[in-house]
Symmetry: C2
Subunit: 234 residues, 2 copies
């Protein structure tokens, strides 16, 4: 468990709440009771009670009926848990041969069980990686996280050359689908067509693929610069 207040340990539940609030906050702040409850798969009543507790611990500031924001102390713990999660994912993938669709579930429990010693060791063994196997940045030990907002593949226009930088890590089926299409991290993609239902036709290593919304919304990309983009793509 992560420590706070110079030494008091936080429970697994508190850690998962703070992590969820952190992630929801980047979409809409303050975080609503219902959004939190939905994300954690619990009742709104349970979320309300925990929000009051977390406010009492000074880990969030919570205004009844108006949602919550992390305090600095809460953000520190959230980032520590996210750091554990993504380091563990990368370790499972690189050092233990897990496929990228299997690491999230395993890391979800391990993130609460490892010591600072363990964290430091896997960080070193991996050569201080900057991202998890899904491309998400790993917060540094000092709590700094550089997290850029990227466009999704679904937001691309026909004619775009892009590179896969991140993928949503939640749905193993989507990740397996991407593996089958050879759409790993850093793969270059040409968007050949947009269709009326928002699906896309793309080229991956010369092979055309029809990509529907659930997939295209799960893939985050950056545009290729002129000198990176191949001249033709017949």
């Amino acid at each position: 468990m992560v420590k706070f207040d110079s030494g008091r340990a936080t429970s697994q539940a508190v850690e998962d709440y703070l992590k969820a609030i952190y992630k929801l906050q980047s979409v809409t702040a303050p975080v609503t009771t219902s959004a939190l409850a939905e994300k954690l798969g619990i009742s709104a009543a349970a979320a309300t009670k925990m929000l009051k507790q977390l406010d009492g611990m000074r880990l969030i500031s919570y205004v009844p009926y108006h949602g919550a924001n992390l305090t600095d102390a809460g953000r520190r713990i959230a980032l520590e848990v996210i750091r554990h999660h993504r380091l563990i994912e990368q370790y499972l993938h690189q050092a233990m041969g897990y496929a990228w669709d299997q690491v999230d579930a395993e890391a979800e429990k391990l993130e609460h069980a490892i010591s600072e010693e363990f964290e430091a060791r896997i960080d070193e063994l991996l050569g201080y990686p900057e991202t998890c196997p899904h491309g998400d940045p790993i917060p540094r030990a000092d709590g700094v996280l550089v997290d850029e907002r990227l466009q999704t593949l679904g937001e691309c226009a026909a004619g775009d050359w892009v590179r896969i930088e991140r993928v949503r890590d939640t749905d193993p089926a989507v990740l397996r689908d991407l593996t089958q299409r050879q759409m790993g991290l850093h793969t270059q993609i040409f968007v050949s067509d947009r269709h009326s239902d928002n699906s896309l036709t793309i080229l991956v290593a010369g092979t055309p693929h029809l990509v529907h919304e659930p997939i295209s919304a799960s893939v985050f990309v950056t545009p290729l610069t002129a000198d990176q983009a191949p001249a033709n793509h017949g």
Copy 2:
């Protein structure tokens, strides 16, 4: 968490109770409430309540005022947790460079957090090890454990040649002491003298050491056969 009853998961508390009962049982059966409470560092009242619960789950058979014994189902879970613990210890030691006095504490938490997938992977990565870094046998995946009772170094007589096979893993200070004296697993030892306070003088790689009770009771040995024992030891 370990599963039982074709799928229901056991809590960390239940797992630690079953493991403790398993270990106490090998010393005295049935296991008393006070022995269990002492081992787990909780009150006797808490132990009583949990014994009733475990009996209700059919994981132990418990007779009030007369102690508890594991059922087959309870033993299966205990061995599964011990397997996790010892495999994790060996992985921390062999694959991650942990010293043997640091692995027990880390494994104590991780043993409840890993999946069967994780267990199988570290087993394979380690080449199916038979013991933990302290020489304790690792239960097999099918629940079989061969556990011989060994004599302690403290029980040896002057003139004995012995080999270290196991060490008690609980006290990091003892383990560090053994490391400093070069008394790792499989080290050969000559017992040169027994003293009145039950301390011993031993030879380790030619160097004499004075060994007191807390150490000598933590080291388990087997006698060397005639052809293994060096002819002289001046």
